[in-house]
Protein backbone atom coordinates (compact mmCIF):
# COMPACT_ATOMS: atom_id res chain seq x y z
CA UNK A 1 0.00 0.00 0.00
CA UNK A 2 0.97 3.55 -0.51
CA UNK A 3 0.28 6.14 1.91
CA UNK A 4 -0.82 9.43 3.08
CA UNK A 5 0.59 11.31 5.96
CA UNK A 6 -1.99 11.74 8.53
CA UNK A 7 -2.45 15.31 9.51
CA UNK A 8 -2.59 16.39 13.06
CA UNK A 9 -6.25 16.70 13.60
CA UNK A 10 -8.20 16.66 16.70
CA UNK A 11 -11.03 14.49 15.73
CA UNK A 12 -12.59 12.90 12.76
CA UNK A 13 -16.16 13.71 12.27
CA UNK A 14 -17.95 10.61 11.23
CA UNK A 15 -20.24 11.45 8.43
CA UNK A 16 -23.74 10.34 9.33
CA UNK A 17 -25.12 9.10 6.10
CA UNK A 18 -28.68 8.98 7.19
CA UNK A 19 -30.47 12.02 5.95
CA UNK A 20 -31.34 12.94 2.45
CA UNK A 21 -32.91 16.28 1.89
CA UNK A 22 -34.13 17.35 -1.45
CA UNK A 23 -35.09 20.96 -1.74
CA UNK A 24 -36.10 23.01 -4.65
CA UNK A 25 -34.41 26.31 -4.25
CA UNK A 26 -35.56 29.55 -5.83
CA UNK A 27 -33.48 29.06 -8.92
CA UNK A 28 -34.69 25.50 -9.26
CA UNK A 29 -31.41 23.90 -8.27
CA UNK A 30 -31.60 20.66 -6.46
CA UNK A 31 -29.55 20.54 -3.34
CA UNK A 32 -28.68 16.98 -2.79
CA UNK A 33 -27.40 14.77 -0.09
CA UNK A 34 -23.98 15.17 -1.57
CA UNK A 35 -24.08 18.90 -1.05
CA UNK A 36 -25.00 18.50 2.59
CA UNK A 37 -22.28 15.96 2.94
CA UNK A 38 -19.77 18.42 1.65
CA UNK A 39 -21.10 21.19 3.83
CA UNK A 40 -20.97 19.08 6.92
CA UNK A 41 -17.47 17.95 6.26
CA UNK A 42 -15.92 21.19 5.30
CA UNK A 43 -16.01 24.51 7.01
CA UNK A 44 -15.70 27.04 4.29
CA UNK A 45 -15.30 30.59 5.28
CA UNK A 46 -15.35 33.38 2.82
CA UNK A 47 -12.99 36.14 3.73
CA UNK A 48 -12.57 38.95 1.31
CA UNK A 49 -13.83 36.98 -1.62
CA UNK A 50 -11.10 34.44 -1.10
CA UNK A 51 -12.30 31.03 -0.21
CA UNK A 52 -10.30 29.85 2.68
CA UNK A 53 -10.99 26.63 4.34
CA UNK A 54 -10.39 25.19 7.71
CA UNK A 55 -10.45 21.66 6.65
CA UNK A 56 -10.80 18.72 8.87
CA UNK A 57 -8.20 16.98 6.89
CA UNK A 58 -8.30 13.27 6.82
CA UNK A 59 -11.95 12.45 6.67
CA UNK A 60 -12.78 15.35 4.40
CA UNK A 61 -10.25 15.03 1.75
CA UNK A 62 -11.09 12.98 -1.23
CA UNK A 63 -8.01 11.00 -1.90
CA UNK A 64 -7.21 8.51 -4.50
CA UNK A 65 -8.22 4.98 -3.78
CA UNK A 66 -4.77 3.72 -3.38
CA UNK A 67 -3.83 5.98 -0.54
CA UNK A 68 -4.58 4.80 2.89
CA UNK A 69 -4.81 7.13 5.73
CA UNK A 70 -2.43 6.46 8.50
CA UNK A 71 -3.71 5.31 11.82
CA UNK A 72 -2.10 7.91 13.98
CA UNK A 73 -4.06 7.08 17.06
CA UNK A 74 -2.45 3.69 17.15
CA UNK A 75 1.02 5.13 17.28
CA UNK A 76 2.38 7.26 20.02
CA UNK A 77 4.63 10.20 19.71
CA UNK A 78 8.20 9.39 20.25
CA UNK A 79 10.09 12.49 19.28
CA UNK A 80 11.56 13.07 22.69
CA UNK A 81 13.23 9.72 22.79
CA UNK A 82 15.36 10.25 19.77
CA UNK A 83 17.82 12.95 20.73
CA UNK A 84 20.25 11.15 23.05
CA UNK A 85 20.51 8.18 20.76
CA UNK A 86 20.97 9.88 17.46
CA UNK A 87 20.30 7.60 14.57
CA UNK A 88 22.32 7.47 11.45
CA UNK A 89 19.85 9.37 9.35
CA UNK A 90 18.65 12.87 9.70
CA UNK A 91 15.49 13.35 11.68
CA UNK A 92 12.99 14.44 9.12
CA UNK A 93 9.69 14.41 10.82
CA UNK A 94 7.69 12.64 13.44
CA UNK A 95 6.78 9.94 11.03
CA UNK A 96 10.30 9.45 9.87
CA UNK A 97 11.61 9.54 13.38
CA UNK A 98 9.19 6.87 14.30
CA UNK A 99 10.57 5.00 11.35
CA UNK A 100 13.97 5.58 12.82
CA UNK A 101 12.99 4.07 16.08
CA UNK A 102 11.62 1.05 14.35
CA UNK A 103 14.83 0.70 12.40
CA UNK A 104 16.90 1.20 15.47
CA UNK A 105 14.92 -1.36 17.35
CA UNK A 106 15.27 -3.88 14.60
CA UNK A 107 18.92 -3.17 13.95
CA UNK A 108 20.75 -5.41 16.30
CA UNK A 109 24.07 -4.26 14.99
CA UNK A 110 23.79 -0.72 16.23
CA UNK A 111 26.15 -0.05 19.01
CA UNK A 112 23.67 2.19 20.72
CA UNK A 113 21.83 1.00 23.73
CA UNK A 114 18.40 -0.45 23.38
CA UNK A 115 15.83 2.25 22.94
CA UNK A 116 12.84 2.02 25.23
CA UNK A 117 9.92 0.84 23.21
CA UNK A 118 7.57 3.64 24.01
CA UNK A 119 5.77 3.61 20.73
CA UNK A 120 4.33 0.15 20.84
CA UNK A 121 2.08 -0.87 23.61
CA UNK A 122 2.84 -3.95 25.63
CA UNK A 123 0.10 -5.65 23.66
CA UNK A 124 2.20 -5.70 20.54
CA UNK A 125 5.07 -7.52 22.13
CA UNK A 126 3.00 -10.36 23.43
CA UNK A 127 2.25 -13.62 21.74
CA UNK A 128 -1.33 -13.74 20.64
CA UNK A 129 -3.57 -16.66 20.01
CA UNK A 130 -4.70 -16.91 16.42
CA UNK A 131 -8.34 -17.51 17.02
CA UNK A 132 -11.31 -16.03 15.31
CA UNK A 133 -12.88 -13.40 17.53
CA UNK A 134 -16.29 -12.44 16.35
CA UNK A 135 -16.61 -9.33 18.46
CA UNK A 136 -13.42 -7.93 16.97
CA UNK A 137 -14.57 -8.72 13.47
CA UNK A 138 -16.19 -5.38 12.56
CA UNK A 139 -13.03 -3.49 13.45
CA UNK A 140 -10.83 -6.01 11.71
CA UNK A 141 -12.91 -5.99 8.56
CA UNK A 142 -13.03 -2.22 8.59
CA UNK A 143 -9.25 -2.10 8.63
CA UNK A 144 -9.02 -4.83 6.05
CA UNK A 145 -11.27 -2.98 3.65
CA UNK A 146 -9.62 0.37 4.43
CA UNK A 147 -13.00 1.73 5.33
CA UNK A 148 -12.00 5.37 5.47
CA UNK A 149 -10.42 5.23 2.07
CA UNK A 150 -13.51 3.45 0.78
CA UNK A 151 -15.65 6.24 2.18
CA UNK A 152 -13.61 8.77 0.24
CA UNK A 153 -13.85 6.72 -2.94
CA UNK A 154 -17.61 6.60 -2.50
CA UNK A 155 -17.71 10.37 -2.10
CA UNK A 156 -15.84 10.88 -5.36
CA UNK A 157 -18.36 8.59 -7.01
CA UNK A 158 -21.15 10.63 -5.42
CA UNK A 159 -19.57 13.77 -6.78
CA UNK A 160 -19.63 12.23 -10.22
CA UNK A 161 -23.28 11.35 -9.76
CA UNK A 162 -24.12 14.82 -8.55
CA UNK A 163 -22.40 16.50 -11.45
CA UNK A 164 -24.28 14.52 -14.06
CA UNK A 165 -26.80 16.71 -15.88
CA UNK A 166 -29.86 14.63 -15.02
CA UNK A 167 -32.53 14.98 -12.37
CA UNK A 168 -31.44 13.49 -9.14
CA UNK A 169 -32.74 10.01 -8.34
CA UNK A 170 -32.30 8.89 -4.78
CA UNK A 171 -32.51 5.12 -5.20
CA UNK A 172 -30.07 5.16 -8.07
CA UNK A 173 -27.72 7.33 -6.08
CA UNK A 174 -27.81 5.04 -3.05
CA UNK A 175 -27.41 1.89 -5.09
CA UNK A 176 -24.48 3.35 -6.98
CA UNK A 177 -22.78 4.57 -3.82
CA UNK A 178 -23.28 1.32 -1.97
CA UNK A 179 -22.15 -0.77 -4.92
CA UNK A 180 -19.05 1.37 -5.34
CA UNK A 181 -18.32 1.04 -1.65
CA UNK A 182 -18.55 -2.74 -1.77
CA UNK A 183 -16.32 -2.89 -4.82
CA UNK A 184 -13.76 -0.70 -3.08
CA UNK A 185 -13.83 -2.92 0.04
CA UNK A 186 -13.18 -5.96 -2.10
CA UNK A 187 -10.31 -4.36 -3.96
CA UNK A 188 -8.65 -3.12 -0.79
CA UNK A 189 -8.92 -6.50 0.89
CA UNK A 190 -7.30 -8.28 -2.02
CA UNK A 191 -4.58 -5.66 -2.06
CA UNK A 192 -3.77 -6.37 1.57
CA UNK A 193 -3.93 -10.10 0.92
CA UNK A 194 -1.21 -9.75 -1.70
CA UNK A 195 1.05 -7.49 0.28
CA UNK A 196 1.50 -9.12 3.68
CA UNK A 197 5.29 -9.38 3.92
CA UNK A 198 5.80 -5.96 2.37
CA UNK A 199 3.31 -4.35 4.68
CA UNK A 200 5.08 -5.84 7.68
CA UNK A 201 8.26 -4.09 6.66
CA UNK A 202 6.82 -0.64 6.24
CA UNK A 203 5.93 1.42 9.22
CA UNK A 204 2.61 2.73 8.14
CA UNK A 205 1.17 -0.58 7.13
CA UNK A 206 2.49 -2.96 9.74
CA UNK A 207 -0.62 -2.82 11.88
CA UNK A 208 -2.87 -4.24 9.26
CA UNK A 209 -5.04 -7.21 10.19
CA UNK A 210 -3.36 -9.78 7.95
CA UNK A 211 0.09 -8.69 9.08
CA UNK A 212 -0.91 -9.06 12.72
CA UNK A 213 -2.56 -12.41 12.11
CA UNK A 214 -5.94 -11.22 13.30
CA UNK A 215 -7.56 -12.79 10.29
CA UNK A 216 -6.54 -15.63 8.04
CA UNK A 217 -5.80 -15.10 4.35
CA UNK A 218 -8.67 -17.42 3.49
CA UNK A 219 -11.11 -15.28 5.40
CA UNK A 220 -9.75 -12.15 3.77
CA UNK A 221 -10.33 -13.62 0.32
CA UNK A 222 -13.82 -14.79 1.28
CA UNK A 223 -14.63 -11.35 2.60
CA UNK A 224 -13.38 -9.77 -0.59
CA UNK A 225 -15.49 -12.12 -2.67
CA UNK A 226 -18.54 -11.53 -0.51
CA UNK A 227 -18.15 -7.79 -0.98
CA UNK A 228 -17.06 -7.72 -4.57
CA UNK A 229 -19.56 -10.07 -6.12
CA UNK A 230 -22.68 -8.51 -4.57
CA UNK A 231 -21.20 -5.07 -5.16
CA UNK A 232 -20.67 -5.58 -8.87
CA UNK A 233 -23.99 -7.42 -9.18
CA UNK A 234 -25.70 -4.50 -7.49
CA UNK A 235 -24.10 -2.07 -9.87
CA UNK A 236 -24.84 -4.15 -12.95
CA UNK A 237 -28.40 -5.08 -12.13
CA UNK A 238 -29.50 -2.27 -9.88
CA UNK A 239 -27.91 0.65 -11.68
CA UNK A 240 -26.72 -0.18 -15.17
CA UNK A 241 -24.32 -2.64 -16.81
CA UNK A 242 -21.86 0.08 -17.79
CA UNK A 243 -21.30 1.09 -14.18
CA UNK A 244 -20.98 -2.55 -13.18
CA UNK A 245 -18.43 -3.14 -15.90
CA UNK A 246 -16.45 -0.10 -14.81
CA UNK A 247 -16.53 -1.30 -11.23
CA UNK A 248 -15.30 -4.77 -12.13
CA UNK A 249 -12.64 -3.28 -14.37
CA UNK A 250 -11.46 -1.04 -11.59
CA UNK A 251 -11.17 -3.89 -9.13
CA UNK A 252 -9.12 -5.90 -11.61
CA UNK A 253 -6.99 -2.89 -12.49
CA UNK A 254 -6.24 -2.21 -8.86
CA UNK A 255 -5.58 -5.74 -7.65
CA UNK A 256 -4.07 -7.42 -10.68
CA UNK A 257 -2.30 -4.53 -12.39
CA UNK A 258 -1.48 -1.84 -9.89
CA UNK A 259 -0.53 -4.02 -6.91
CA UNK A 260 1.99 -6.24 -8.71
CA UNK A 261 3.22 -3.33 -10.83
CA UNK A 262 4.20 -1.42 -7.72
CA UNK A 263 7.13 -3.75 -7.41
CA UNK A 264 8.03 -3.92 -11.05
CA UNK A 265 7.91 -0.54 -12.70
CA UNK A 266 7.17 3.11 -12.07
CA UNK A 267 4.26 2.82 -14.50
CA UNK A 268 2.24 1.82 -11.45
CA UNK A 269 1.66 5.46 -10.56
CA UNK A 270 -0.13 6.11 -13.84
CA UNK A 271 -2.20 2.96 -13.47
CA UNK A 272 -3.06 4.00 -9.95
CA UNK A 273 -4.14 7.41 -11.16
CA UNK A 274 -6.58 5.73 -13.54
CA UNK A 275 -7.87 3.64 -10.64
CA UNK A 276 -8.55 6.87 -8.79
CA UNK A 277 -10.18 8.49 -11.75
CA UNK A 278 -12.73 5.77 -12.39
CA UNK A 279 -15.09 6.20 -9.38
CA UNK A 280 -16.40 9.64 -10.44
CA UNK A 281 -16.85 8.25 -13.95
CA UNK A 282 -18.84 5.44 -12.38
CA UNK A 283 -20.98 7.96 -10.54
CA UNK A 284 -21.66 9.79 -13.74
CA UNK A 285 -22.54 6.68 -15.72
CA UNK A 286 -24.78 5.55 -12.89
CA UNK A 287 -26.77 8.74 -13.30
CA UNK A 288 -26.81 9.08 -17.05
CA UNK A 289 -26.15 5.56 -18.26
CA UNK A 290 -23.56 6.63 -20.76
CA UNK A 291 -19.97 7.72 -20.96
CA UNK A 292 -20.13 11.37 -21.90
CA UNK A 293 -17.44 13.95 -22.19
CA UNK A 294 -18.44 15.16 -18.77
CA UNK A 295 -17.63 11.81 -17.20
CA UNK A 296 -14.25 11.78 -18.87
CA UNK A 297 -13.58 15.32 -17.74
CA UNK A 298 -14.34 14.50 -14.12
CA UNK A 299 -12.20 11.42 -14.41
CA UNK A 300 -9.50 13.56 -15.96
CA UNK A 301 -9.58 16.01 -13.09
CA UNK A 302 -9.17 13.23 -10.57
CA UNK A 303 -6.49 11.61 -12.68
CA UNK A 304 -4.47 14.79 -12.76
CA UNK A 305 -4.97 15.38 -9.09
CA UNK A 306 -3.41 12.03 -8.18
CA UNK A 307 0.02 13.08 -9.36
CA UNK A 308 0.77 16.10 -7.20
CA UNK A 309 -0.87 14.25 -4.33
CA UNK A 310 1.07 11.04 -4.59
CA UNK A 311 4.39 12.35 -5.86
CA UNK A 312 4.60 14.85 -3.04
CA UNK A 313 3.77 12.14 -0.53
CA UNK A 314 6.21 9.61 -1.87
CA UNK A 315 9.03 12.13 -1.68
CA UNK A 316 9.37 11.58 2.03
CA UNK A 317 9.03 7.81 1.87
CA UNK A 318 11.95 7.05 -0.35
CA UNK A 319 13.82 5.04 2.21
CA UNK A 320 10.91 2.74 2.95
CA UNK A 321 10.19 2.26 -0.71
CA UNK A 322 13.79 1.53 -1.48
CA UNK A 323 14.11 -1.04 1.26
CA UNK A 324 10.74 -2.58 0.55
CA UNK A 325 11.49 -2.96 -3.13
CA UNK A 326 8.78 -0.65 -4.44
CA UNK A 327 9.50 0.99 -7.77
CA UNK A 328 8.41 4.57 -7.34
CA UNK A 329 9.34 7.63 -9.34
CA UNK A 330 10.52 9.44 -6.27
CA UNK A 331 13.25 6.85 -5.81
CA UNK A 332 14.25 5.97 -9.36
CA UNK A 333 13.47 9.11 -11.35
CA UNK A 334 13.27 12.02 -8.94
CA UNK A 335 13.37 14.65 -11.64
CA UNK A 336 10.53 13.03 -13.50
CA UNK A 337 8.59 12.77 -10.25
CA UNK A 338 8.64 16.51 -9.72
CA UNK A 339 8.06 17.36 -13.38
CA UNK A 340 5.00 15.15 -13.58
CA UNK A 341 3.57 16.65 -10.40
CA UNK A 342 3.94 20.17 -11.76
CA UNK A 343 2.62 19.20 -15.16
CA UNK A 344 -0.56 17.81 -13.70
CA UNK A 345 -1.09 20.77 -11.39
CA UNK A 346 -1.12 22.94 -14.49
CA UNK A 347 -3.39 20.55 -16.35
CA UNK A 348 -5.93 20.96 -13.56
CA UNK A 349 -6.23 24.59 -14.59
CA UNK A 350 -6.76 23.52 -18.16
CA UNK A 351 -9.35 20.92 -17.27
CA UNK A 352 -11.26 23.36 -15.12
CA UNK A 353 -11.48 25.66 -18.11
CA UNK A 354 -12.83 22.90 -20.33
CA UNK A 355 -15.72 22.23 -17.95
CA UNK A 356 -17.95 25.10 -19.07
CA UNK A 357 -17.12 24.36 -22.68
CA UNK A 358 -18.68 20.94 -22.20
CA UNK A 359 -21.70 22.54 -20.55
CA UNK A 360 -21.08 20.87 -17.23
CA UNK A 361 -20.61 24.05 -15.31
CA UNK A 362 -21.08 27.72 -15.89
CA UNK A 363 -18.17 29.98 -16.74
CA UNK A 364 -17.89 31.04 -13.13
CA UNK A 365 -16.27 27.72 -12.33
CA UNK A 366 -12.87 28.27 -13.98
CA UNK A 367 -12.85 31.78 -12.60
CA UNK A 368 -13.56 30.80 -9.01
CA UNK A 369 -11.37 27.75 -9.12
CA UNK A 370 -8.47 29.67 -10.61
CA UNK A 371 -7.07 30.85 -7.24
CA UNK A 372 -6.89 27.35 -5.75
CA UNK A 373 -5.58 25.85 -8.98
CA UNK A 374 -2.95 28.54 -9.21
CA UNK A 375 -1.99 27.98 -5.62
CA UNK A 376 -1.47 24.27 -6.03
CA UNK A 377 0.44 24.94 -9.23
CA UNK A 378 2.61 27.38 -7.37
CA UNK A 379 3.34 24.78 -4.71
CA UNK A 380 3.96 22.29 -7.48
CA UNK A 381 6.48 24.66 -8.97
CA UNK A 382 8.16 25.14 -5.62
CA UNK A 383 8.38 21.39 -5.23
CA UNK A 384 9.83 21.14 -8.71
CA UNK A 385 12.44 23.75 -8.01
CA UNK A 386 13.36 23.03 -4.39
CA UNK A 387 12.86 19.26 -4.29
CA UNK A 388 13.00 19.12 -0.53
CA UNK A 389 10.89 17.77 2.23
CA UNK A 390 9.15 21.00 3.18
CA UNK A 391 7.97 21.77 -0.34
CA UNK A 392 6.77 18.21 -0.80
CA UNK A 393 4.83 18.37 2.42
CA UNK A 394 3.27 21.68 1.52
CA UNK A 395 2.17 20.35 -1.83
CA UNK A 396 0.78 17.21 -0.28
CA UNK A 397 -1.24 18.98 2.37
CA UNK A 398 -2.53 21.40 -0.21
CA UNK A 399 -3.74 18.53 -2.37
CA UNK A 400 -5.78 17.24 0.54
CA UNK A 401 -8.02 20.27 0.71
CA UNK A 402 -7.71 21.25 -2.91
CA UNK A 403 -9.75 18.38 -4.29
CA UNK A 404 -12.82 18.64 -2.05
CA UNK A 405 -12.76 22.38 -2.55
CA UNK A 406 -12.60 22.00 -6.31
CA UNK A 407 -15.43 19.49 -6.37
CA UNK A 408 -17.55 21.68 -4.14
CA UNK A 409 -17.02 24.73 -6.31
CA UNK A 410 -17.73 22.61 -9.35
CA UNK A 411 -20.98 21.50 -7.86
CA UNK A 412 -22.09 24.97 -6.93
CA UNK A 413 -21.31 26.11 -10.46
CA UNK A 414 -23.10 23.19 -12.01
CA UNK A 415 -25.21 24.06 -14.99
CA UNK A 416 -28.78 23.63 -13.94
CA UNK A 417 -30.61 20.78 -15.59
CA UNK A 418 -33.86 22.69 -15.77
CA UNK A 419 -32.20 25.69 -17.33
CA UNK A 420 -31.03 23.43 -20.09
CA UNK A 421 -34.52 22.05 -20.51
CA UNK A 422 -35.77 25.59 -21.02
CA UNK A 423 -33.33 25.97 -23.80
CA UNK A 424 -34.72 22.92 -25.46
CA UNK A 425 -31.71 20.69 -24.90
CA UNK A 426 -32.55 17.23 -23.68
CA UNK A 427 -31.12 16.60 -20.22
CA UNK A 428 -28.11 14.43 -20.30
CA UNK A 429 -27.36 15.45 -23.84
CA UNK A 430 -27.36 13.20 -26.81
CA UNK A 431 -25.40 10.05 -26.49
CA UNK A 432 -24.19 9.74 -30.01
CA UNK A 433 -21.25 12.05 -29.95
CA UNK A 434 -18.88 12.09 -27.07
CA UNK A 435 -17.31 15.44 -27.65
CA UNK A 436 -20.40 17.47 -28.29
CA UNK A 437 -20.13 21.14 -27.66
CA UNK A 438 -23.44 22.81 -27.07
CA UNK A 439 -23.80 26.48 -27.79
CA UNK A 440 -25.50 28.51 -25.08
Amino acid sequence: GLFVWRLRNTGIQQIPCQFVHLYHVANNRLITFQYFNFLKRMYVTRCNKVLSQRAKPKSDSVVSPYHELQQLDQEKKVVNKISPVSPVHQLWSETSSRNELREMKSAAETEDSVIPVGTESKEDRRWKEMKLRLDDMPGILARLSKIKLTALVVSTASAGFAMAPVPFELTCFLLASFGTGLASCAANSINQFFEVPFDSNMNRTKNRPLVRGQISPLLAVCFAASCGIPGIALLTLGVNPLTGALGAFNIILYTCCYTPLKRMSIVNTWVGAVVGAIPPVMGWTAATGSLDAGALLLGGILYSWQFPHFNALSWGLREDYSRGGYCMMSVTHPGLCRRVALRHCLSLIGLSTVAPVLDITTWTFPIISLPINLYISYLGFRFYRDADRSSSRKLFFCSLWHLPMLLLVMFTCKKSVLKKEDKGDPPGGSHETVMEIRLP
Binding site: M130, P217, R318
Partner: protein, 147 residues
Protein backbone atom coordinates in the same frame (compact mmCIF):
# COMPACT_ATOMS: atom_id res chain seq x y z
CA UNK B 1 2.11 -20.12 24.02
CA UNK B 2 0.64 -22.34 26.71
CA UNK B 3 0.93 -26.08 26.29
CA UNK B 4 -2.76 -26.79 26.42
CA UNK B 5 -3.63 -24.36 23.62
CA UNK B 6 -5.31 -25.77 20.52
CA UNK B 7 -4.63 -22.94 18.12
CA UNK B 8 -1.74 -21.22 16.41
CA UNK B 9 0.00 -18.39 18.13
CA UNK B 10 1.50 -15.33 16.51
CA UNK B 11 4.28 -13.35 18.06
CA UNK B 12 5.75 -9.86 17.92
CA UNK B 13 7.64 -8.78 14.81
CA UNK B 14 11.09 -10.19 14.41
CA UNK B 15 13.91 -7.72 14.92
CA UNK B 16 15.55 -8.44 11.59
CA UNK B 17 12.81 -9.39 9.23
CA UNK B 18 9.91 -7.44 10.77
CA UNK B 19 7.75 -10.47 10.16
CA UNK B 20 5.66 -12.00 12.89
CA UNK B 21 6.54 -15.63 13.62
CA UNK B 22 3.76 -18.14 14.00
CA UNK B 23 3.90 -21.23 16.15
CA UNK B 24 1.66 -23.80 14.57
CA UNK B 25 -0.49 -26.12 16.58
CA UNK B 26 -0.24 -29.76 15.53
CA UNK B 27 -3.47 -31.51 16.41
CA UNK B 28 -3.07 -35.19 17.30
CA UNK B 29 -5.58 -36.23 14.68
CA UNK B 30 -4.10 -34.13 11.91
CA UNK B 31 -5.12 -35.29 8.47
CA UNK B 32 -2.75 -35.50 5.52
CA UNK B 33 -4.31 -32.41 4.01
CA UNK B 34 -3.92 -30.43 7.20
CA UNK B 35 -0.33 -31.54 7.49
CA UNK B 36 0.36 -30.35 3.95
CA UNK B 37 -1.13 -26.99 4.82
CA UNK B 38 0.88 -26.63 7.99
CA UNK B 39 4.10 -27.58 6.28
CA UNK B 40 3.44 -25.16 3.44
CA UNK B 41 2.90 -22.38 5.94
CA UNK B 42 6.00 -23.27 7.88
CA UNK B 43 8.08 -23.39 4.75
CA UNK B 44 6.74 -20.04 3.58
CA UNK B 45 7.41 -18.51 6.96
CA UNK B 46 10.98 -19.79 7.02
CA UNK B 47 11.64 -18.62 3.49
CA UNK B 48 10.19 -15.17 4.13
CA UNK B 49 12.16 -14.85 7.32
CA UNK B 50 15.39 -15.73 5.56
CA UNK B 51 14.79 -13.33 2.74
CA UNK B 52 13.81 -10.30 4.75
CA UNK B 53 16.35 -10.75 7.50
CA UNK B 54 19.12 -10.94 4.94
CA UNK B 55 17.68 -8.12 2.89
CA UNK B 56 17.23 -5.73 5.79
CA UNK B 57 20.68 -6.50 7.11
CA UNK B 58 22.18 -5.81 3.72
CA UNK B 59 20.26 -2.55 3.53
CA UNK B 60 21.50 -1.33 6.87
CA UNK B 61 25.03 -2.35 6.13
CA UNK B 62 25.17 -0.77 2.72
CA UNK B 63 23.60 2.35 4.10
CA UNK B 64 26.31 2.62 6.74
CA UNK B 65 28.98 2.11 4.13
CA UNK B 66 27.46 4.70 1.87
CA UNK B 67 27.26 7.27 4.64
CA UNK B 68 30.79 6.53 5.69
CA UNK B 69 32.16 6.92 2.18
CA UNK B 70 30.24 10.11 1.56
CA UNK B 71 31.33 11.63 4.83
CA UNK B 72 34.89 10.70 4.12
CA UNK B 73 34.65 12.33 0.71
CA UNK B 74 33.43 15.45 2.39
CA UNK B 75 36.23 15.23 4.89
CA UNK B 76 34.03 14.64 7.88
CA UNK B 77 34.22 12.03 10.54
CA UNK B 78 31.53 9.57 11.48
CA UNK B 79 31.02 11.33 14.76
CA UNK B 80 31.30 15.03 15.30
CA UNK B 81 32.55 16.89 18.35
CA UNK B 82 29.62 16.13 20.59
CA UNK B 83 29.98 12.42 19.87
CA UNK B 84 26.83 12.22 17.82
CA UNK B 85 26.74 10.29 14.61
CA UNK B 86 26.98 12.51 11.58
CA UNK B 87 24.17 12.13 9.12
CA UNK B 88 23.48 12.90 5.51
CA UNK B 89 20.39 14.71 4.47
CA UNK B 90 17.60 13.21 2.38
CA UNK B 91 18.88 14.45 -0.95
CA UNK B 92 22.25 12.86 -0.48
CA UNK B 93 20.67 9.62 0.65
CA UNK B 94 18.50 9.64 -2.47
CA UNK B 95 21.37 8.36 -4.56
CA UNK B 96 21.81 5.45 -2.23
CA UNK B 97 18.11 4.59 -2.28
CA UNK B 98 18.01 4.62 -6.04
CA UNK B 99 21.10 2.50 -6.24
CA UNK B 100 19.89 -0.01 -3.68
CA UNK B 101 16.55 -0.39 -5.37
CA UNK B 102 18.02 -1.06 -8.80
CA UNK B 103 20.62 -3.47 -7.39
CA UNK B 104 17.97 -5.56 -5.71
CA UNK B 105 15.41 -5.35 -8.48
CA UNK B 106 15.92 -8.86 -9.84
CA UNK B 107 15.98 -10.28 -6.34
CA UNK B 108 12.63 -8.68 -5.64
CA UNK B 109 11.10 -9.93 -8.87
CA UNK B 110 12.10 -13.47 -7.97
CA UNK B 111 10.81 -13.08 -4.44
CA UNK B 112 7.53 -11.63 -5.64
CA UNK B 113 6.92 -14.61 -7.91
CA UNK B 114 7.69 -17.03 -5.10
CA UNK B 115 5.59 -15.17 -2.59
CA UNK B 116 2.54 -14.98 -4.86
CA UNK B 117 2.78 -18.68 -5.67
CA UNK B 118 3.12 -19.61 -2.01
CA UNK B 119 0.35 -17.30 -0.93
CA UNK B 120 -2.10 -18.73 -3.45
CA UNK B 121 -1.16 -22.29 -2.61
CA UNK B 122 -1.54 -21.77 1.13
CA UNK B 123 -4.85 -20.01 0.75
CA UNK B 124 -6.13 -22.75 -1.56
CA UNK B 125 -5.10 -25.43 0.94
CA UNK B 126 -6.81 -23.47 3.68
CA UNK B 127 -9.94 -23.49 1.57
CA UNK B 128 -9.74 -27.22 1.09
CA UNK B 129 -9.21 -27.83 4.80
CA UNK B 130 -12.11 -25.56 5.69
CA UNK B 131 -14.35 -27.36 3.21
CA UNK B 132 -13.42 -30.79 4.56
CA UNK B 133 -14.02 -29.62 8.10
CA UNK B 134 -17.38 -28.14 7.19
CA UNK B 135 -18.50 -31.36 5.50
CA UNK B 136 -17.37 -33.37 8.48
CA UNK B 137 -19.28 -31.11 10.83
CA UNK B 138 -22.40 -31.38 8.69
CA UNK B 139 -22.15 -35.15 8.69
CA UNK B 140 -21.73 -35.15 12.46
CA UNK B 141 -24.73 -32.87 12.79
CA UNK B 142 -26.83 -35.12 10.61
CA UNK B 143 -25.82 -38.11 12.67
CA UNK B 144 -26.73 -36.33 15.88
CA UNK B 145 -30.08 -35.23 14.55
CA UNK B 146 -30.90 -38.76 13.44
CA UNK B 147 -30.07 -40.21 16.84
Amino acid sequence: PPAHSRSDWIGPPDTHSNLRPIIFYVPPEESALERRLREARQEAQASNQRFWARHNRAFRQEKEEFIYSRLKAKGLEMRDESGQKATLNAEEMADFYKDFLSKNFKKHLQYNRDWYKRNFRITFLMGQVALVRALRWLRWRKKNVEQ
